[in-house]
């Protein structure tokens, strides 16, 4: 029976596509089986399977921290902007992943002639068929995503979405990887000047958290405060978050994921030091909570939920640099002090610097990242040495100059070109309505704060 148009065309199209797919599949199967034979041999020769399992498992835990950041930021900001915050968090790790694959990874871990940046491995090309490359890339990509997503909290409730996407691209492709290459390039094919100088940052208090934190400072400064945040005399007005339980869920998720962040950084399935690293991580987080709780209770007269939650994160950020080379008492001390520092930093930045940071990202990640980096030298088992602490301080300074400097230039450029800040009407009515033409909670009447 003759097939009439368009069913005939459709049938022919399906047949041709099927043939092409079959051919491609067959070709792929041939290539793949050759590759599999090669990789199986490589795996047997170079890396035990447990390295892959542990590293990837840890990477998945770190990836889950994206949910943690999203929930913290949603909970600490207002309902009228909830969709926007989610979108920023969703897209900074998505755009970031692609940018890190295309450019960032190569800059961070490619072969480096100068110790200043890597120059191969873009799009993960030219690295041979070694499957460890992919495990290592996934692990590093989720770390890059962590740095990128720190900034969305400090810039919440008033940033143009398109500008934020562009920022995500730049931090993942350039700002994060270049500093990362200085401290971590040697973990793969590169080698940076900072690590060669003896700089210690095991899981990234500076590489990840301070880079994110200082970019956040730059962004919040260029943006300016939310409307209604400061009175005429410069005193700040509180803008309470709309969902403390969600923020708390976020903190618990981050705490959970951090075990992958720190312990996973051994990237080895047969290194028992992951146990002590995990213990240090746990102790620092707990001590951070206690430190922030006591500090806020004494200063403000009531045990404050948002400060205590930030205290957990402060402790975690701070122990990240030294978690593999400090003792348990030191880890607790580092965390406790971070909890105290973060309360003071939050109020200092809000009240003295008059920089509006809705979630405390600058204090948690920038300030406590710097503290943790120094602490890795101060509390090193074997005692602190002047050179060790000196190198740590150098790294802290260089990180600030690099991250804040590039961040500031980038945000000024964005402000001058595509525009960084949402309009006043959009900000007052909520970015959900203004940018996304939607509503995170359509069944509820949202109210606008004064």
């Amino acid at each position: 029976m003759r097939l009439t148009f368009p069913r005939g065309r459709l049938a022919k199209g399906i047949a041709v596509s099927g043939l092409l797919l079959a051919t491609a599949g067959a070709a792929g199967a041939v290539v793949e089986s050759t590759a599999l034979t090669q990789t199986a041999a490589m795996v047997a020769a170079e890396r035990p399977a447990l390295d892959f399992v542990w590293t990837l498992l840890a990477a998945f835990l770190v990836f889950f921290m994206q949910a943690g950041f999203a929930m913290v930021e949603v909970g600490f900001t207002r309902a009228k902007n909830a969709t926007n915050i989610i979108m920023k968090n969703l897209m900074d790790c998505s755009v970031g992943a692609l940018a890190f694959w295309a450019v960032g990874f190569g800059l961070m871990f490619g072969r480096s002639a100068t110790g200043l940046f890597g120059a191969d491995g873009f799009f993960l090309s030219g690295l041979g068929g070694d499957p460890w490359t992919f495990a290592f890339w996934v692990f590093q990509a989720v770390f890059a995503a962590t740095a990128a997503t720190i900034v969305s909290g400090a810039m919440a409730e008033r940033t143009k979405f398109a500008s934020y996407l562009l920022y995500s691209l730049v931090i993942s492709a350039f700002v994060y990887p270049v500093f990362g290459s200085w401290a971590w390039g040697g973990l793969f094919h590169g080698g940076g000047w900072l690590e060669k100088a003896g700089f210690i940052d095991f899981a990234g208090s500076s590489v990840v958290h301070s880079v994110g934190g200082w970019c956040a400072l730059a962004g919040a400064m260029v943006l300016g405060p939310r409307l209604g945040k400061y009175n005429g005399d410069g005193s700040p007005r509180p803008i309470p978050g709309h969902n403390i339980p969600i923020a708390a869920l976020g903190v618990f998720i981050l705490w959970f994921g951090w075990f992958g962040f720190n312990a996973g950084s051994t990237t080895s399935g047969s290194d028992p030091s992951i146990a002590a690293i995990a213990a240090n991580t746990y102790l620092a987080a707990a001590a951070g909570a206690v430190g922030a709780l006591l500090t806020s209770w004494l200063r403000f007269g009531a045990p404050d939920s948002s400060m205590s939650l930030n205290g957990v994160l402060a402790g975690l950020v701070a122990v990240t640099a030294g978690c593999a080379n400090v003792g348990q008492g030191s880890a607790a001390a580092i965390g406790l002090l971070a909890g105290v520092i973060v309360v003071f930093a939050i109020t200092f930045i809000e009240q003295r610097l008059r920089v509006d940071d809705p979630v405390g990202a600058i204090s948690v990640h920038g300030v406590c990242g710097a503290w943790g980096t120094l602490a890795a030298g101060i509390f090193a088992t074997g005692g602190p040495s002047l050179t060790a602490v000196g190198v740590q301080a150098l790294g802290v300074l260089v990180c600030f100059v690099w991250a804040f400097g590039n961040g500031y230039l980038l945000f000024r450029l964005l402000a001058a070109t595509v525009g960084l800040r949402a309009s006043a009407e959009e900000e007052l009515g909520g970015l959900d309505a203004g940018e996304h033409r939607s509503n995170a909670y359509p069944e509820f009447v949202l109210t606008t704060a004064k």
Binding site: P238, P240, S296, R299, F300, D304, S306, V343, T347
Partner: protein
């Protein structure tokens, strides 16, 4: 006919309903509202900074009543909603022009 409108504390709603159940009332409507009277509002804190909440959550209760029944209902609400503290609320008694039962179309006293 009168419409009794009460603005009461949310935490007294159950007491008020129990008190009303002892008397006969044709029905009631509750809504969540916010507001304040002459009081200054509550002071709360966020990250160490004080702020005043002067749009306080209350519950608005509306009951239809005949002219004879209204005073007893008002008194029941007053006694069960009162705590003695500022913020107990107020009751307004409004005259009603027309009442219609939607299901049957009854009007007037039959619709109460």
């Amino acid at each position: 006919m009168k419409l009794i409108v009460g603005i009461i504390r949310p935490e007294r709603v159950n007491q008020v309903r129990r008190a009303l159940e002892e008397l006969q009332y044709p029905g009631l409507t509750l809504s969540d509202v916010r507001g304040h009277g002459r009081q200054k509002g509550l002071s709360q804190q966020w990250r160490g900074r004080e702020y005043v909440v002067d749009m306080l959550p209350k519950v608005r209760i509306e009951i239809l009543a005949s002219d004879d029944e209204a005073p007893a209902l008002v008194q029941a609400i007053v006694e069960s909603a009162r705590t003695g503290d500022i913020g107990d609320g107020k009751i307004f008694v409004l005259p009603v022009q027309e009442v219609v039962r939607i299901r049957t179309g009854d009007r007037g006293d039959e619709a109460v």
